[in-house]
Structures are given as C-alpha cells and as structure tokens.
Subunit: 705 residues, 2 copies
C-alpha cells in the first residue's frame, strides 16, 4: 500500500492525561473556557495538569510554571497561550515525551510571514521529535461519545447528542454548523477540526474514525487538501473498513477556490479532479453543507444494498404528488407494492384514499390515528420497499405530533428506514418528537431526493468496489511541478507509445521529396503529411499539413508544397523533414485521451469523444490513474455520448474492447514513466467499428526537461 | 387581447356581507371552525348571516333554515354543508343574487362519478346564472391583510403575519406549507386555495392579485392547469402590471404527473411545455416548494434591474468561502468594491480580516460589534453592489443575536437588500430577530444561489419583455384533440410551405423514367429521388430513396430501381410517382423544427440542431407560438450548441438571419392555419453559411382530417 504511516490516534481522542497550557481563572477567556470544558462539561476521569506561570493554583488545582516543569508526560497538551509562546511550549512538550499537542492558538500561517515561519518551526519539531500536532488555529477537538472537550468553545456544553457520526473539518465555523444538526436529531461521536494542519490532517482523522467502533459514518468538509496521497489512503482505508465517507469540498467554483485558498493557505485543486478522486474511492460528494447531514444520518440508519426502491406515504395528496415528483426527478424508482400490502392498505384506509404508491391516507388519520400506523407498517415491511418517505407538508399542531409519534413507533418495529420530510418552516411539537427520537428529518424534498439517490448509489458502488486498487500517487507520492518540461517530437512520441503497446499510426519521416514519394507508395493507402520542426507547434497554421495524399507523385509535390509554405511562414524554423502516415480509414469515431499530473493527486486521465462533444458539451470523464479495464468500461458508460459508442440508431457499434485495451495501455505506460511524464494528449484516437481496433492519430507527450 | 373576461373579484376577497351555510355550534366541527374563524379570528365588520335548518340561533345570531330563506343577497355564501346539499344551496344562492359561493365541502370530482356529476351541475349553474364558484373541495380563502378568514382551518387564527405576498394554490396542504413561512419572516396578503376549480381557477386569483395594491409578489403552486389561455392571460396581465409571479408546477417527472393527475383530476401537461410558457410570460419557475418563498421574499424587498453583482459578508472564513463558492456555481458575479469601500473596510476591521469580496470580518465582531456595522454599511452602499449576502454558519447564542440585530439595523439605513443565510439547524434568538424584522433568511446556500440568480434573471427578463406579445391560443382558445389527423403528402406540404414563404427544396414529381430524366437534367445539380405513395411512410426501408443522382441518365435508371424495389417490397402500395429535388449543398448544418399542439396551451414550437444534438444531448428549446424574430434569436442562443451556429473554432458562422426568418415564417404559417394544423416536422432544415440561406429538406405536416 502507500508510503504514509498513519499513527494510532487513540490517546489523542481518548487521552488518559491532559496538560492545559494557558489555563485561566477568568471565566470568559479562552483559557477559562478551555478549563471549564474539561472540568465542568466533560466526563474526563484521567489526570489533568495546568500550566500557568502567573498563578500558583486555579480552582484548587496546582499550576506549573511551564510545560518543562510538569511532573510527567501526558497524552495530550492542550495549548491556548498566545502565539509567541507556542513554539517553546511544543518544544518542551516534545522533550517531555508528550504524545500530542492540540494547539488552539491563532496567528500562524493564516496570519502573516512571522506566523508562517513559526508554523514551519512546528513542522520541524514534529519531524525531529515525533510529537504530533493538531492545529494550530482551530477550535479544538470534541469527543462527544466519551464526553471529552479539548476546546475553548462555549458551545461545547450544549453539544450533547451522542451518536454514530464522526465529523472531520478544517475550519471551526462550518464544523459547528454541522454539529448543530444535533437540533435536528443527528448524533455525533467525534468532531475534529484541524485548522491549519501543520501536521495532522483531515486524512488522519478519517483514518482514525474508520477504525473507531462507535462510528458508523464519517462526514468531512474540506477547504484544501494538503497531502493527496495521504487523503486517498485514508479513503481507501475507510472503504476497506466498510465505513462510508460523505464529503463536501469547498472550491467548486473559481470564487470559492480563491476564497478558500486565501482562508486556509492550501491548494484547493481542480474541482473536477477532486470529484474524480472522490468518486473513485467511494467518497460520497454532496453539493451543499446541509446535504452532508442528510446523507450521513440516512447511512447511519441503514447500509444500502444499491437498487433500493422507495414508497411515498403521505396524508396530503399534494405532498404525496410533490414527493413522488422529486423521487422521479432524482432518478429514484417508486416500488410496486406486493398484493398483501395493497390488501392491508385497503383494510386500513377509507375508499377515497390513494393506496397505490404514492400512498395518500387523506386526512382520515386526524380522526383515526390507528389507520396511519396500520397502513404505514405494511408499506415499510413490503418486500419491494427499501425505504419509506413521509412528506409532512405542514405543522398541524397536535395532529402532526401524533403522526410523528406513530412514525417513531412504527420505525421501532421495522428495519426499513422511515424518513420524514419536514417541509414547513414551523417547527412544532411533531418536529421535536422526530428530533428526540434521533430520526433526522429531511428539511426539503430536493435534499431528500439527492440524499436518497446518493444512499442508493453508495450501495451500488460498495457492491462493485475494487478495494485493492491503489492510486499511482499513493505509492510514489506527488513531486512538485518541474522547473521546465519539453515535448517529445511526434515521431519520438509515437515510437514510445508503440513500444509500450499503444497502437498509433505508423509514421515515417522523409527528408526529401523523392523519399516522400517512395514512402507514400509503400504505404499503399492515402496518407497524411506533416512538417517536422522543433520550432513549430501549430502545424496547420503555417501550411505544414496536407491530408489525403494519394500515391508517390502526389506525395512528392506535397513535400515541396509543405516545405515551401513553412519556410515562407517561419523562415527561421529548422525543418528536419516531413512526417508521412496512413490516413485513418473513413467512418471512425474520434476520441481523445488526456493525461495531466495534478499537484495534489498525481496523474489523472481525461477521456471523451473529440470535437464538439468536448468543445460544446464538455462530455468528458476523469480517473486518477492507474486506470483498470473496469475503470475504462465505466468511463465509457459515464459519457452522455455512450449510446453513440454502443451503436445507437442503427449505427455500427464501436470496437469497445480495443478502446478499453488502449486506455489501459496508456495507463500502464504512464505508470511505468510516472516520474517523467507531465502531460499527454492523444487527440484524436481513432475508434473503428467492432474488430477494427483503436489507435492514436496524433500524440503530444510532455516530459520533465 | 384574449377571449376570457376576468371578473372583478374584489367582493370575493373583501366581502361586505357573508352567509355561512352550515354554521354549527359544535366547536370542533367544520361548521364550528368556519364560524369561529369569521366571528372570533377575523376583523370582519360586514353583515354575517347563518344558515342552519336545525337551530334557531347560534351564539346569539339568528339561523335561517335555507339559503332561499335569507333576507337579502350577500357578496359571499360560504358553504360547508355535506356534498348532498351543495347543489341546491348554490342554486338558491344564484337565485337570490349572491355573487360568490365559496364551497369548502369535499366529495365532488375528486371522489367518484356521483361527485363528478354534481360538479358538472355546479358548472351549469355558473353558466346559466352568473354566480361564481370558488372550490369545491378546498380549505377556503384567507385575506390576511384585511383579516377575513372564510375557511374551516383551525390554523387560521395563527396566520397572522401580514405582508406583500399573494398566494394562489390549489391543494390546501401545500398552500399551508407556504403560509407557515410566516415563521421565517414572510408576510402574506392573501391565500386562495381553489381546490377542484369547478369555476374560478388559479388564473383568476393571479389576475386579481396583479391588480391588488397591497400585493407586490404573487406565488403560485399548481398541480394542474385546466384552462391554458386563461392562465396565460393572467400571467400577461401580471407582467403588464409589473407584478412578478413565482411558481412551482407539480408534475415535472412521470411519477409526479401521474400522482397529481389522480389527485386533482386535471391534465398536468408536459413539463417542458409548461416551462416554455412560464419562461415566455415571465413566470419565475422554481424547482422545489421552499424556493418559492426564497424568491418571493427577495422580490418583495427590491425589484431587480438585471445584472446585479453581489457582496459576501461573513464573520467566518469557511462560511465566506462556501458562500462565494455557491455564488460562483449559481452563475452570479461577485462585485468589485469601489476604493472608498475598501478604505472603509480597512478602517473598520483588523489587519487580518479579509476585506476583498468575500469579506471575512473574522470573529472580531464578537468583541467589537460596532466593527460589524461599520463594515457592513459601506459594503451595502457600494455602487457596484446590488445585494449583500450574510452567511451565518452557526448559532452562537447572544453573539449571533447581536449580529442579527445589526443586520436589521443596517438594513434600515440602506436600499440594498441585505440577505442573511441562516445555515444552522439551531434556530436561536438571532433567527427570531431576523424573523420578527420580516427579513426572511435563506435556509441554505444552494437556495440562496438559486433565488438570487432567479431574482437577477427576472430583472433581465423584465427589462426586455415584450408585453404586447399574445399567444395564439389566447385569441383562439384550445380545441380538443381531433378525432383523426392526416398527413399531407411531401409534395403538398412543400407546396403549402413555399406558398407561405417558407423556403424548401423545389421538388417535382415524375410519373415515368423519361420524365425523371428530363427533370433531373433541368435541375442541373445532383438530386435526391423518393417514392411517392400514400401507403408508404418510411421510404428508405423499402428502397424508396436514392440520393446523389447526377444527370438524366442516372435519374432514369434510379426511377426504375425505386419503382421496382417498392413494388417488390410493398406490392399493394399505390405508386403515384417519384419525387425529385436538388440535393442540399455540402457543408450545411442540419436543424430541426417541430410544431405540436398542446391541449392546454396550444401550438408549441420545438427547435434544435438535428442528429446527435437532439438524440443524445436533448439540446432543444421550445416556445409557445407565435414566435417573433426576437424569440427566434433567443431560441438560437439558448441552445448549448449555439457556439457551433455562431462559428466556433474557425468554422464559418451560419446564416442566422435566414434561419430566424425561416422560424418566423413557420410561425406565421401555423398562425394562419391554427385551426387546421396539428403537427409539423421540418427535419432536417438545412442551414448554410452566411448568405446561403436556410430551407427545409423534408416536411411532414399533419392536419385535422
């Protein structure tokens, strides 16, 4: 597997002993809040040492004047002193043998050059001593299930709802936003908020949470990923442990990327590449922060199989229709009820109720609540139903409270998730019933549709995931961008590709018209001719390309025409000859394959059909490399123009087996030359009908100079 | 303008006198609630008469035994008696001269055949007497600003927040969902909920609200549109009055359409056609119910100009980044601050704050709230800023309350809308501050992005709207589908098109090989030849088409080949000849134009490029007809493949002027034959380079038989 060794963080999250460096007796100070959070609002039963050079004791606890003066090592030093003293405190902690420093203090790389330098010092201490650093510039670390708060946040005392969700964020504000989903029924095990990430990163916490028994689902909100391979390894580990990871990456637009970069001082990276990495490693990417909880809470309730169909169960015809509408637009399927379900619904509900899926009980349930549960249970237990949606359009006071209680009661009798959607802005007693029961209601039909669809898709991903696959960069790391790159000549590039088993047109170079004629005659097929000159990149623009040349005589005159045109357009260009290669047979489809090296995640392949498909419709798909044969197949199917490749509307299907082999051969070639290749552009790749193969007509390969 | 006469509904919404038919003294009955809503929860100072045959009086008010027995006509009879007595009550009301019957009772067309028959009777009474009916099967009508509730809903007493939004729904459940946005700061003027719409429809209420002085924005949620022209007229009226209409149509997916149809017994119509109608008449269509309020509340605060740029103002770097990200993905532009704004921000905020847009004040505002308002006001007053977004990631108790109060305070000093986004599930005192101030906070960044984008787009629409444009169907109505249709032959169709000034290939029919040869010779260009037979629709399939025929000799032999092939494939087909027409010149782009007749909205044009653009990418756009030259231009620009038409990447631009003229000529032809044409398919339409024109290569025209 990869090169980064994850450290066991058990005693960071569950310290047996803590030193609070900067403890204060002023109640509204950072040090005062941090102390109260450990002593008053935690169930921490380990040893606690206070460091404060100006006080002999605080609240009856002895204060030590410095970290160096502590009587023993501890698991965690929580540091809340001003920035100027932090480096020394961490040095002393390392010398003392303290395992972890949680640095809440701000004023480091996010602030100014002095802060950047101090943060570099912290990194050196880590490298030299083995102490691990959490932060700086973060609100702290909260273990909710174990009830230990190493944080200055006065809100920690209200963060009471324990549960199965592990939360890993960088910034504190967005993390707290997610924690406040506790008010909607979501329960949390842990919250790590790693700030500037001088050392430990979101990846480390995802890795830890993947191994934590009390965590079923991991939620992460990321502003910038500093170490791509480490992040990918953490995701791969979570996948192998069967722990779903739900994530949102800030920086999906130019504005967001720029803002996040200035906020976190990390590279935000290309949104498209990030999404490709996430998809490939099973991270469930969402579009907005509120969706994180929607998806996570659902996953915590039940692990999907993939292919689930749903039921809609409402007491209002309008809500039933609108919910079914959202099911449809989200691409989810409504289940067809089994006959015994229909029979039970007929028995439970009045004649005028709608007993097909979507079910509209009508308002009969106001006067007869029993009808509600008598109808809901058989729907949930129907063998075709994987999940039940209960849209609640309005808060009708006590009536809604009764329905909510019945949902909770029926849920206790079935394994099928019953998911209320609380659509109203009025959050009355019914909402509280759902909240208290830990049934996190969706707050909009659209979010429901997105979350349920992602839940089902995760099940499908999981069922076919290749858990042994390892990204190139996980093995080799990602080196920085080179000082300079150079392009191989077309003839060099094609020769390398051919040697690597990647089919290309067989090109030869003629140095004079006679040779051109001889080569063209030998090829016995119409040829393309292109100028060969290291100075000329855009060959057509200078008259350097002639297509569809037939026979030796035409080739001779084409040679002269090309050389004359180029000499006249670019008098200083060195001309080494004219490349001659067979024209592609007519009737092929033109694909393109690009390879780039992302500075966070390493080599990435982009694939699509050429021409207008890319230019106008941006119909491309991406993979972190290596790309396996199965990945290649998935890439083809992900394109909107997949029907064209399959042979839509009577067109002959393309040679997809050859195309997949071609893609894998490119990936193998890049893997074997990963330290050298910066960029590749095979465009077009000619794809024939079944049996005709696929080969590159043109090839640009950029390597480190 | 159109044919439907809207009646003045002033005394329906503001009755001077009411008769409550079915008043009851049982407090939890429908009749009891309806009575209490008028007497206890309304400020109704007009005359109220009660009808109840079994009681002499209720609560000190005399009861009349029947509507006929009332001492005088009233403006509105509110009817809550069981379905069996409703028809008679309405007959008596009409005879009495009562203007409006508000029928809350259920059990009509939504229930069974008997109910359908009763509803038909109600329609007849309307037609015969002029009484107007609201309902049946509805929760009633609420005038919030005037405080009159003609409804049985026990929730009416809580519907207290007055305001500028007029709400027109069909079903009650979804309408009440929207009304409960009162708990998020939204204020309502009126709520009409028109149930089965035996007579008055959503369109009538939109029309009324467009003329009501206390209404700034109209919100509508529609399950099915019964009368398309009436609906379009209402929208056109609202547009002329400058009143924005925000709408959601149920039935955007197959599931939703089916469910809504069974719920409301109305045709839901094609979602694509609905959207085209909405866009064309300025209705702002949203994707989910919660967006209705988001958009409406923003429009009520300020009418946009179009092209607004926004500022992001946050106290958390993460929230600022994520908000900027959502601004970017929504296609909104961040404003560049004027120099004096930057100066003011520098003065108000600490060095480490981010003072470019997005602004991150940092948490300094916790200790120094004045910095918050000192920074926010100049941002709002910046000449480049059309709207300020304040993402509030978390509820930080009293600190957030202070920020919320400052937002309200600064808003009172500027015309620029300041829009908080309350992202947390914890709704504390800060949320209540915004709610009470009537500043309806967004509840998610995504909804913010969608709403602000729609707000800006509405401004743009309004600035260029052609308020005089009238849909074809508004003048002529929409007749039902004909019993049968027939296709014109290709030669007939092309002759009709040519006569209407629509360019087509000039086709001739040869009845023998000699004639074919002569025609081909005369055309002096390669020709296409196609079998002419009323029995044969798919000509290629039977060998009935030969392309690229050059000269008379080839044409003669092609004639014989075609006739032989067809005779052998379809021995019984009558062959009337072979059509001969010039081949299209090479290098054209192929477009397609379809016309269909929607049973709700009348003739609709679909336009797109042909081939894979339609098949794979569904890249088409639609307009209710007639289509003007400006519409045609907009249609071209709406297509994703617009760059191809304009001449992307060195390709020659197409003859767009001719294409627009072509589209308008098709529209004129359909308008002149609106009572006859059911369907048209011009596919392909050949579009040449600039100056080469556009003409139909093939034409199918279906007319009423």
């Amino acid at each position: 597997m990869g090169s980064y060794q994850f450290q066991d963080l058990t005693y960071l999250f569950n310290p047996r002993s803590i030193a609070l460096v900067g403890a204060s007796d002023r109640p509204n100070s950072i040090g005062g809040h941090a102390l109260a959070n450990i002593t008053d609002h935690s169930d921490f039963d380990g040893e606690l040492f206070l460091v404060n050079p100006t006080k002999p004791e605080i609240g009856g606890r002895k204060c030590y004047p410095s970290v160096a003066a502590l009587p023993q090592a501890v698991d965690v030093a929580v540091i809340v002193i001003p920035a100027a003293g932090v480096v020394q405190a961490v040095e002393e902690a390392a010398a003392k043998g303290i395992s972890f420093a949680v640095i809440l203090t701000s004023g480091f790389s996010e602030a100014d050059d002095e802060g950047k330098a101090a943060e570099e010092r912290l990194k050196q201490i880590v490298a030299n001593t083995g102490i691990r650093i959490y932060g700086p510039n973060c609100p702290g670390l909260c273990n909710i299930n174990r009830r230990i708060g190493m944080t200055f946040s006065p809100a920690f005392k209200d963060d009471l709802r324990k549960g199965p969700i592990g939360l890993a964020t960088q910034g504190g504000g967005l993390g707290r936003n997610l924690m406040q989903a506790m008010d909607r029924g979501a329960g949390f095990a842990l919250w790590s908020s790693s700030g500037n990430e001088a050392d430990l990163q979101v990846a480390d916490f995802i890795h830890y949470m993947a191994g934590a028994d009390d965590i079923k689902v991991i939620v992460t909100l990321i502003e910038g990923i500093k170490d791509g391979p480490r992040f990918m390894e953490a995701l791969a580990h979570a996948a192998r442990r069967g722990k779903p990871v739900v994530g949102l990456k800030v920086g999906r637009s130019e504005y967001g990327a720029k803002a996040a970069q200035s906020h976190t001082a990390s590279i935000t990276g290309s949104a498209e590449v990030n999404s490709a990495v996430f998809r490939q490693l099973g991270l469930i990417e969402v579009d907005d922060i509120d969706e994180l909880i929607d998806v996570a809470a659902l996953l915590a309730r039940r692990v999907p199989q993939g292919g689930e169909e749903v039921a809609v169960f409402a007491s209002s015809g309008g809500a039933a229709s609108l919910c079914a509408d959202n099911v449809g637009t989200a691409g989810i399927r409504l289940a067809r009820f089994a006959p015994h379900t229909t029979k039970a619904l007929k028995a439970a509900l009045p004649d005028y109720a709608a007993i097909d899926n979507p079910v509209d009980t009508t308002s009969v349930t106001i006067s007869n609540p029993k009808a509600f549960s008598d109808a809901l249970l058989p729907v949930a237990e129907d063998p075709n139903v994987g999940l039940v949606l209960c849209p609640i359009a309005m808060d009708y006071g006590k009536y809604t409270e009764v329905s909510a209680s019945l949902i909770v009661e029926v849920q206790s009798r079935t394994q099928t998730p019953i998911c209320p959607i609380w659509m109203s802005d009025r959050l009355g007693s019914g909402y509280r019933v759902l909240d208290h029961a830990g049934i996190t209601p969706f707050r909009s039909l659209r979010n429901m549709g997105k979350a349920v669809r992602r839940w089902i898709d995760y099940g499908a991903w999981r069922s076919r995931a290749d858990l042994a696959w390892t990204p190139l960069a996980m093995a080799g790391g990602v080196p920085p961008a080179p000082q300079s790159v150079r392009a191989l000549s077309e003839i060099e590039a094609k020769a390398e590709l051919a040697a690597a088993g990647i089919p290309t047109t067989k090109a030869k170079v003629a140095v004079n018209a006679e040779e051109a004629g001889a080569i063209a005659d030998l090829m016995k097929t119409p040829v393309a001719m292109k100028i060969v000159s290291p100075e000329i990149l855009h060959k057509s623009d200078v008259g350097g390309v002639v297509l569809d040349v037939r026979g030796g005589e035409q080739a001779k005159s084409a040679f002269d025409r090309i050389v004359d045109a180029v000499k006249s357009a670019e008098p200083k260009a060195r001309i080494t000859g004219v490349l001659i290669e067979p024209m592609a047979p007519p009737g092929g489809l033109e694909a393109f394959i690009g390879v780039s090296r992302d500075l966070v995640f390493g080599h990435v392949m982009t694939f699509g059909l050429g021409g207008i498909y890319v230019e106008i419709f941006k119909d491309v798909t991406r993979r972190v490399m290596p790309v396996t044969n199965r990945h290649a197949g998935e890439m083809l199917e992900e394109l909107r123009c997949w029907p064209l490749m399959k042979g839509a509307r009577g067109r002959p299907p393309r040679d997809l087996e050859s195309l997949k082999k071609f893609i894998v051969a490119v990936s193998d070639y890049v893997a074997a030359n990963a330290d050298r290749i910066e960029e590749m552009d095979l465009n077009p790749v000619w794809v024939g009908a079944e049996g005709q193969g696929a080969f590159a007509l043109d090839a640009v390969v950029m390597v480190r100079a």
